[in-house]
Symmetry: C2
Subunit: 353 residues, 2 copies
């Protein structure tokens, strides 16, 4: 079968790989209907994080169950499922409390599972899913129906970006009284805009200077746009808000600059939901957090949990998180999918096996 393999910086290839098989009773094998490239895939693609040995890549997928291990009763063969970007047991304390991303057995695509078996990447034709009992999320539609209704991109967004945006807003306890500034206009930032509106924020400020993304942010629910960055950003927000700063910032990038920006645009006692994978020196300066009385929460989204909240909103059309996809390519052109995102020719690329 064909699957994406990263060999090093700017070197992702579609290669022939062995067909996956059931290796443990808690496994499933899923045929991929749609996968995509994540902003966080660009860290190894750009060489920011090293690739020491070639490995399969990709962690977002919608697919159809082909094989099930003996212990998996949560889905049936033929079910259309979304699989969250982190796989989890469903029974440890973190899982029981709604934080499967912090599961004791958390397992990632393109890595190895707790038994030491390799795990496929989601950018491929088929994938073995360990911890399948808790990780498979059947959506209650057939593949044909989802395709016919154009829902596949929206369902795929639940695997990571939309759940991550909702995690940022949930961790920052966004509510109706809040003015929310969203730092980052990538797919996660745009999903953060959707999430802030979904939780009722009275005003959502997209911090963006790219016309196409600004337009999409407005379509998805942003009430205001601020193009300024650095020291000019809090001034621009004060100008918008009659002298005030935002109540909440959603940090959706993961760099030192974006975290500093998030901290600079919220009032004393403000909240920051941070979901950008920390890279490039991003830190939480304890004295600033202390003296400004900030609350900081977030981290890796527990997509498995948020999917349950989001699926009904996708099915009834309240939200259209798949709007973040602005390019679709076949799996064979995976190298171009990465290049398009790296060069900002696309916000997020959907990949069809």
């Amino acid at each position: 079968m064909l699957a994406a393999v990263i060999h090093g910086a700017r070197d992702v290839r579609a290669e022939e790989r062995p067909e996956p098989a059931i290796l443990t009773p808690d496994d499933a094998v899923v045929r991929v209907v749609a996968a995509c490239v994540c902003g966080s895939d660009l860290w190894p693609y750009r060489g920011v994080t090293p690739t020491n040995a070639p490995h399969p890549i990709g962690h977002e997928m919608v697919g159809v169950v082909e094989l099930l291990g003996a212990d998996v009763t949560s889905a049936r063969v033929g079910d259309l499922v979304v699989v969250p970007f982190s796989l989890s047991c469903g029974t440890c304390q973190a899982c029981r409390n709604g934080y499967p991303a912090a599961c004791d057995q958390v397992t990632f695509f393109g890595s190895t599972d707790r038994q030491g078996h390799p795990v496929d990447g989601a950018q491929g034709e088929k994938v073995r899913i360990p911890l399948a009992q808790h990780s498979l999320f059947p959506v209650g539609l057939s593949e044909e129906e989802a395709e016919a209704r154009g829902l596949v991109p929206h369902l795929l967004a639940l695997a990571d970006v939309m759940s991550t945006g909702l995690h940022a807003a949930t961790a920052a306890t966004v509510g109706p009284d809040d003015v929310v500034a969203v730092v980052g206009d990538g797919a996660v930032g745009l999903s953060g805009v959707i999430a802030a509106r979904l939780l009722g924020a009275q005003r959502v400020i997209a911090m963006s200077r790219h016309a196409d993304r600004t337009a999409l942010a407005r379509k998805l629910g942003a009430t205001d746009v601020v193009a300024e960055r650095g020291d000019a950003a809090p001034d621009a927000i004060r100008a918008l808000l009659g002298g005030d700063l935002a109540d909440v910032a959603l940090e959706c990038v993961g760099t030192e600059e974006s975290m500093a920006q998030a901290m600079a645009v919220v009032r004393g006692g403000g909240r920051i939901g941070f979901v950008g994978v920390p890279n490039g020196g991003s830190q939480l300066p304890i004295r600033t957090v202390f003296s400004r009385n900030l609350t900081v929460g977030g981290g890796m989204a527990s997509a498995r949990r948020y999917m349950e909240e989001l699926l009904p909103r996708v099915l009834d059309g309240t939200i259209t998180p798949g709007d973040v996809f602005d390019l679709t390519l076949p799996l064979a052109e995976i190298a171009e999918a990465y290049a398009a995102m790296d060069e900002r020719r696309a916000t997020k690329v959907l990949v069809r096996p």
Copy 2:
């Protein structure tokens, strides 16, 4: 008048100082009924933070209003008041949102105000209070009544430690389902125990290895005590909780070790309320916060706000936060007050002018 002045490490003296006077229309002059020494006063006392020039010290006080500036209508001459450890305007965005500790004009005892006038320390006979309109908190009792009912220590605790304990628990959104571990058995940690119970925590674990403080923690509401530290602490908590970790940790010390301890004893998706003034390398390791899905909040307590919640509980006897005082000394013996706390002969020393 007599007032405490810090000259350098282990050198605090009771000295004659000029009587304070009204300098701005938003000033008050308050005669101190009781003051105390704070754990954070020990940082300069121990030389951990340098004292570059001698200055008055102390930031917790209960007193009687003697003089009022023309603009101050929130109290009357003769009122018994608690004054929060940070002084605030009451009108900026942070104040309006309940975070006066992050006030745009925040002013500290023993420092200078925004007009450049020196501000007295609270460990003295009298104190000029800038930003008095918002900072004075009349308790609705006469000095004589408060003394007769033995309420002065409990009221004094609202100026900082009890409000700080409540800030830790509030920032960590403690509620009835929570198991709360309290890191630190000083006066703030003990106040954190009271606060966690006040917010309904089902189980409060005091992390302490000192018999006297352990006993007091149990009196104040701790359901369990864990003496283990470091790597042994999470194991001890798992043994208590049938394999689980705490939902919440209150970090009430401010060192690198205490923050690491707090992070180690909570489950994935846990919350940390941190109120220990960061010293000695304390930091928030972003990758741990991210991967374990922690939420971290706290900082300097907005005592002015928490006093309002706590006063009725002190007056009706629900809480007795003044129990943290285990030594009372006259102001003239301020050096001994510091030494007793530094040498851990006292948990917290109340000082009478």
